[in-house]
């Protein structure tokens, strides 16, 4: 190692994959900086020229490098267009969002905010909207648990008992989601309305009392209660729970269950000790795919809830698009993302798997 250090270093520098990776990461970082306007004016032009040069460099290396170099540089070339798009329109906006969240509007009607490390937006986000944050995570959490309770048995039946109807059943899970999310929620609004089918049916079978008792109904109403909002979230994100659980259950070898039973395990024991642990990656992925969008959702709370069931999404939307207080809305978005990230990190420490997608 010590003797050959210099030659290795030289060869390493000439390795095409380092050209590829360097050009990809460098161009991505530069484009993020340009997009977020960290660099402006002539420096930005220079940075843009560097991004362009990295593309040319990549193509150049591929052309003169011969088949071996081409094979090694190919993945970076294939990734580049998509990665640069995400750098410019995913990463750069997050940086801009962070900067705006620390800015001040010079007056109530001003459009352009001045960046001045104003942490007041964050203070307001926590102080004035703690109830909305609380409801967002509470509703999203309850909805996620409900999607597991409904989705797991369904995914289990499709995976182990679907037989030749498996493809059909999977299709049936996906089909409802080819109609607009918004229209489906409006459909629930009409179904749950005071004169809608659900309330009428519950009255008819005399179950309204029971539903009042467990807190789903409130004075004969379902619409505009927390239960309606949670029900809407549960419905809308259910497939995002079913599909990942199905994918992980499908991989379980039924022979393992048979083997456990041959070794005198009960069916329940085999399920608990074999099927459940092997399906946890699916539950993990489904939880993320359900909880994260549900926590930021405002459509269900708007159409199915009342002013006392608003979630943080409603407040962000209101501050951003109605009140035009973009700095405050940015701070709220950032806090939402930070809390979600922390929750996901904690959660993945307990249930985490590498295989997310």
């Amino acid at each position: 190692m010590s003797k050959s250090a210099t030659p290795t270093a030289v060869r390493r520098w000439k390795r095409p994959e380092f050209v590829g990776l360097g050009a990809l990461v460098g161009a991505g970082a530069l484009l993020t900086a340009i997009g977020a306007r960290w660099v402006t004016g002539p420096v930005a032009l220079l940075a843009l020229a560097l991004v362009f040069a990295s593309v040319v460099w990549l193509i150049f290396t591929a052309v003169i490098g011969g088949p071996d170099a081409r094979r090694r540089i190919a993945p970076y070339g294939l990734l580049k267009p998509g990665a640069l798009w995400l750098a410019l329109f995913y990463l750069a906006p997050l940086v801009t969002l962070l900067r705006l969240s620390l800015s001040t509007l010079p007056s109530r009607f001003a459009v352009d905010a001045d960046f001045d490390w104003n942490f007041g937006n964050y203070r307001r986000a926590f102080a004035d909207f703690d109830a909305q944050f609380g409801r967002a995570f509470l509703y999203a959490g309850v909805a996620t648990v409900l999607t597991i309770l409904i989705g797991y048995p369904l995914a289990y039946v499709i995976a182990f008992r679907g037989g030749r109807y498996r493809t059909l059943m999977l299709g049936l899970v996906v089909v409802p989601f080819f109609t607009s999310y918004l229209i489906r929620t409006i459909a629930w609004r009409s179904l749950l309305a005071d004169t809608g089918w659900v309330v009428q049916m519950l009255d008819f079978v005399k179950l309204s009392g029971l539903f009042e008792g467990v807190g789903i109904m409130d004075n004969g109403r379902i619409l505009q209660t927390p239960a309606a909002v949670i029900g809407g979230l549960t419905y809308n994100f259910l497939p995002f729970m079913i599909l990942p659980i199905y994918v992980s259950l499908e991989k379980v070898d039924p022979g393992l269950v048979d083997a456990a039973q041959d070794l005198y395990s009960t069916s329940a024991g085999a399920f608990r000790k074999i099927v459940v642990p092997l399906s946890l990656p699916g539950v993990f992925a489904g939880t993320l795919l359900t909880f994260i969008p549900a926590a930021g959702d405002f459509v269900n709370a708007f159409y199915l809830g009342s002013p006392s069931t608003t979630m943080i999404g409603n407040s962000i939307q209101d501050q951003f698009l109605v009140q035009n207080n973009v700095p405050l809305a940015s701070a709220m978005s950032f806090v939402l993302m930070a809390i979600i990230t922390i929750l996901v990190l904690i959660y993945s420490r307990f249930f985490g798997t590498e295989d997310l997608a």
Binding site: E17, P75, Y90, V175, A357
Partner: protein
């Protein structure tokens, strides 16, 4: 699995099956409502109370001019963004599955990030970017936004589909004297095409359906969901149900056709 031997076991088995059927029916409750109310003749501006059966709405699906315009805008946006996102995303997927390379784990993680960011954060952050650049939000900004979330989606969907692909087939083609270009178009591309088409169909549906991200980046532009939301205070015409049902039927037909073709292709080799 071995057959349950006890009565208790078979009751448990059957109640689970019944639960699964009920859960599937639950998924279709609002769908039934949407399709049923496309045949309703509403009194007034709101199509939310059942009055009487009519075929009038289906005979004249484009009766509501502003709704039709919004629907056409949505179709245009979805077509453009899906084509671009499918190309970008598929290239990324091939790179991630086909090659082992430095940094692939990090790039994989980076690709998942947009899908695990709440839509409201994606929408509002992109809107702050356009505000910062002094770009008027409209058609182009919505297309850009849709491509952004579709790229990740296409890349991950195609990646999942081509994971099991036997890459030695490429080797075989080249051993038999095919050029790399010819190998790609004759061997690789036909094999990954079904995965790409499925991902494109799903991401087209995602774009057509998107409300939250679009709301933040549309400016004065009206898309199908934005128009429904914007006019909901004053009206909800039955044509909304007709167009939504038409999209649903078209997607189901495409999916069924895709599955049928897939079966026919699988059969000889199986």
């Amino acid at each position: 699995m071995s057959a349950p031997t006890s009565v208790r076991g078979s009751i448990a088995k059957w109640s689970l099956n019944v639960f699964a059927v009920l859960a599937l029916m639950y998924l279709f409750v609002p769908i039934v409502w949407i399709v049923a109310f496309s045949f309703n003749q509403p009194r007034g501006n709101y199509n939310v109370q059942w009055q009487e059966f009519t075929l009038r709405n289906w005979k004249d699906p484009f009766a509501d001019e502003s709704l039709t315009n919004a629907f056409v805008e949505s179709l245009k946006i979805a077509s453009i963004s899906t084509v671009i996102a499918t190309v970008l995303g598929s290239l990324m997927a091939v790179a991630l599955v086909r090659y082992k390379f430095r940094g692939s784990a990090t790039l994989n993680f980076f690709l998942i990030l947009p899908l695990t960011t709440p839509e409201i954060v994606l929408g509002s952050s992109l809107a702050t970017l356009f505000l910062d650049w002094d770009i008027t939000r409209g058609f182009a900004t919505v297309v850009i936004a849709h491509i952004m979330f579709q790229v990740s989606f296409v890349a991950l969907t195609v990646r999942a589909r081509v994971r099991g692909f036997d890459w030695t087939l490429e080797q075989a083609a080249q051993d038999l004297g095919a050029s790399p270009m010819r190998t790609f178009w004759k061997v690789t591309f036909p094999l990954i095409l079904p995965g790409i088409l499925a991902a494109a169909l799903l991401s087209f549906a995602l774009s057509l359906d998107d409300f939250i991200i679009t709301l933040f980046n549309a400016g004065s532009l009206n898309t199908f969901p934005l128009y429904i939301n914007g006019s909901f205070r004053v009206r909800f015409p039955p044509q909304v149900n007709v167009l939504a049902s038409a999209v649903l039927f078209a997607s189901v037909a495409l999916m069924a056709a895709g599955t049928a073709i897939g079966f026919r292709k699988d059969r000889p080799s199986a």
